[in-house]
Symmetry: C2
Subunit: 303 residues, 2 copies
């Protein structure tokens, strides 16, 4: 099954009416994943008709306001609306005390468990794994501790042989069991899922790299990724500014896409000095043709 990335915000720190602060929803392997949660993310989700209730896990890159300030409000809203399912949050050291300090002062007692894991690895490290998906935290170089995330959807799934099911007059309930790899008994007859399904391999990945100096040495970690979202705060003419503020340029994002042989590069985290982002796209395309611009509300299919 394909994955789906929705850009909720792709602006950098200074607020702009053209784009919201960083936040994205990745729907992968049946999970709804929120990546970063800048101020106002709740409203961006309402606008895009994405229910905050469905979020399974949250990943925060770093503790600059434009990447996390929407989090306390979002967690409070989930509590107001009666979420009960525990919520996993991954982020750099400090995120736990920040969240719980906000909760304490505002006397917020979420009625669901908030399970915060603080990341502190100096090298890339697998931080989450289940049968379908592996998630790696990638240390970046910014003014504060900052992590990129690589989401690898790599597993076997079962494809239903619909014709065979129809012939045996097996309905939706049975198909659901087969899809989960379970056999089914109907009127004393045992139907094995193996007879009605064929295994197929799902493999695609998404890489999220924001707020960092250009780090070419990272390319092997997400080699041949299907979609690389890479920050491009500035045009390369402002390379000095990019370096002193620990950011990247559009040209460098394209260099990274080239090095890791990404299928598609999506540029984002644009400085508010660029009301139009066409120049950033043109610059990146010199080096890496298959580049697109992030835009609030834009959806990318990954498969």
């Amino acid at each position: 099954m394909e994955s789906r990335l929705t850009i909720l915000g792709c602006g950098s720190a200074a607020p702009s009416l053209l784009r919201a602060n960083t936040a994205q929803i990745l729907e992968m392997a049946g999970k709804v994943i929120l990546i970063d949660c800048g101020e106002g993310t709740q409203w961006q989700m309402l606008k895009r008709k994405i229910s905050a209730f469905k979020i399974d896990i949250i990943f925060i890159s770093h503790l600059h306001g434009d990447h996390y300030l929407g989090l306390p409000g979002l967690l409070n809203t989930l509590s107001l609306y009666g979420r009960e399912k525990p919520l996993k949050i991954f982020g750099p050291k400090g995120i736990k005390s920040l969240l719980f300090h906000n909760f304490k002062e505002a006397e917020i007692y979420p009625n669901y468990e908030v399970l915060v894991t603080e990341i502190n690895n100096k090298k890339s490290k697998k931080i989450f794994e289940d049968n379908e998906i592996t998630i790696t935290a990638i240390p970046l170089q910014h003014r504060v501790p900052c992590y990129g995330y690589h989401f690898d959807n790599n597993h076997y799934s079962l494809k239903i042989n619909k014709e065979k099911c129809d012939l045996a007059l097996l309905g939706f309930d049975v198909i659901k069991e087969f899809k989960s790899g379970n056999d089914f008994v109907k009127e004393g007859v045992n139907y094995s899922y193996k007879d009605y399904t064929a295994p197929y391999h799902i493999e695609h990945s998404y890489t999220f790299i924001t707020d960092t100096l250009f780090l070419p040495e990272l390319a092997p970690i997400f080699f041949k990724t299907n979609l690389l979202y890479h920050e491009s705060t500035y045009l390369n003419i402002l390379l000095d500014k990019a370096i002193t503020t620990y950011h990247s340029t559009a040209l460098q994002a394209a260099e990274m896409a080239n090095l890791c042989q990404a299928k598609l590069l999506v540029l984002g985290h644009f400085s508010s000095r660029y009301p139009q982002t066409n120049e950033l796209l043109t610059e990146a395309k010199i080096i890496f043709e298959n580049t697109e611009l992030a835009e609030d509300g834009k959806v990318f299919i990954i498969k």
Copy 2:
């Protein structure tokens, strides 16, 4: 001179696309005052073309996210854009540690002084005073410590006698000096401001009451206020809910306006269950005719 109140957000905690979280700009006696700063206030200011740079003082009612979560981001933006003028912030106990905890984790070092005063008074108390304006913090009753604010603009100003100035061929520079109560010397001649101006009395006030049980005993504190903004989270049919969540109804807001003999009542802090707020207005008008609804972007002139 008249004062001007701009509603930036008038929704309650649960996010809604119809209205932003609480924030208002009061322009009074030459000062730009921000009252509350819910998540997303920066964007509301951009939308209304109000420069965050001009803010002189900020007052926060309480530390629920929908009233303060926009503050760290706003302060960071001011720093990004190079504000140098110190900024005064008043709010309940805890606001200082919350702000500085955010600064610490995000490694934000504002390049201007952030002067935070924590309010902790159990009775109404004057917390700010200069030659033109007196500001009183009014303890309310909510689930966390919460304050209303009363802004009293009461002073004498100088009205220029333009005819006399024209006759004496005195230009803009001179008028500016006269307005500030200074004499002016031109070609050896002394012009006294007293000869070219007349004193006149300015007196009007604004009262901001949000997130509280109905507290009729407060009426004397802002008796005959020109504009009373009073929360009306619910219709009176939900009085039980209002009481258990420490909020007020539209009917109670009107009762308060009646008791304090306000000139105008503005209802706000509407629950997201009311996409249309007409019923709240109708309910309030039964008791207090001169009532209006707050609305994001709406401006009220106080004189």
